[in-house]
Amino acid sequence: MDNTVEIRWHGRGGQGAKTAALLFGEAALSLGKFIQAFPEYGPERMGAPVASFNRISTEPIRLHCSITNPGIVIVLDQTLMGKVDVTEGLPATGILIVNTTDSPAEVRAKLKLQGLKVFTVDASGISKATIGRDIPNTPLLGALVKASNLLDFASMLKDTEEKLAIKFKSKPEIVKGNIEAIKRAYNEVKGE
């Protein structure tokens, strides 16, 4: 278990929290990790708070229970903070990554956080600029890799590009936009 990192994604229905977990799982698998990715199975409604999860490990994963003490939490929608206890179960050594224009210090003050490494990135702004729509999940993959050091960034970027190229064969501009978004978030994410 010491070799396993558990991640929880918070978003709203339609924002791609489930897809983010799947994409990150697949990228980690291609880089030789053992993985799990699964959503929280509740009623799925556009705009309602949802969560999804990853386990990433260097050894086979046998656990099939939900994740209650993640090492990393990613918030796709800052309006969830204060409404959903996004840091629930996160240990003092944990990592919190938030899609916001606020600085890590501002998030820390708003949530009255002690301990934790807090990272922020304007994933929505980046996705609007690069993809043309507010889909914060792909840029947050870049922020996650930077904040966690779980994967080699260049390899992850290459793998994601290949996967997106298959999925969006007829729309190369979408692939380009997403890759640019991941790169920008990787470079722009701030932590303290």
């Binding site: 278990m1 977990a21 799947l22 799982g25 697949e26 698998l29 053992f34 993985i35 799990q36 990715a37 699964f38 959503p39 199975y41 086979p60 994963i61 046998r62 656990l63 099939h64 229970c65 939900s66 209650t68």
Partner: protein, 390 residues
Amino acid sequence: MAKFVAKTGNEAMAEAMRQINPDVVAAYPITPATEVVMIFAKYVADGLVNTEYVPVESEHSAMSACVGASAAGGRVMTGTSSQGLVYMYEILPIASALRLPIVMCEVNRAISGPINIHCDHSDTMAARDFGWIQIFSENSQEAYDSLIQAVRIAENHDVLLPTMVTTDGFIISHCLDKIEVLDDKDITAFIGKDRKPNNSLLDLDKPTTLGSIDLQDYYFEHRVQVAEAIKNSKKTIIEVANEFAKKFGRQYGLIEEYKLADADYAIVALGSTCGTAKVVIDELRAKGIKAGLLKIRVYRPFPAEEIAQALSKIKNVAVLDRADGWAGQGGPAYAEIKAALYKSKTPPKMINFVYGLGGREIDKDQLAHVYDCLKNIEQQPDVQYLGVRE
């Protein structure tokens, strides 16, 4: 080349179906098994398989169409869950009595009511007396591997029985996991391409009647033949598992023992809970507690002798049932394991936990609590509910 890919339980089962390339699939979608036949239907539409796909208006019709297609001599598969399986109940024992080797992808989900879409084993446990072979899976890899083996088991001439392979709804069916997908041509070679059914309706050289009325004179004999087939299937299941292990490296059996040989305390369970239990066992062993697991992979035929043998040296045992059965004496696995141990000279002390109904979470702490209870088994009730609010 076999390759490692990310697949959910449903995707893994659909992939196995593509590689098996059955002649006929008749199915009706139901959560959480919908994706299995949905993905497969796409394979049909894309021309990746030669299957005749029969989209029916209900599970009753799905199983009826499977019976017809299998009786005609085809290799036939379907997929369902919960209420869908319940709706098939009328046809399930006909499939086995007619000795039709239909293979089913079953995703374990609680049966209504109240209505619930999440995992427990009440759907397949209620179907355990219908003459179907039942194979449970701990994870997606096992579901994939067992589905391929199921074709061989079902079609073996000593067996000729329908076979269902199950995964735990959502927990496995919707969890992306790393699995090894084998080569298409290796699968084709393993299951055999040119199957020769014994008695098929389309065999004009050997005309056969199937499904005729069978009263006092022969019904009994035919039912005993099914009972014999179920008994025979144990040997076949082991042979097929051994051949699979030799070719592909992963070994399966009727049961699996995890750190059981020297265990003082053991849990018996089925499905995905076994994975979590293995982690708990490792943690307890690190603290010097000799914990172990007996996983039941094949529930029908029931591996009574194997279970009795495996538990004969254990002091205290907890049987975990993810179905109640409403027999008033604990869950179905508990009842059958008690019966299996009746003639044992050294039976363990044993208690039952019914858990996880309707998808109620089962985590490491609860499983550790079960091992804790085993330390003072004398003070425990015979049957208790784990994780239920009083």
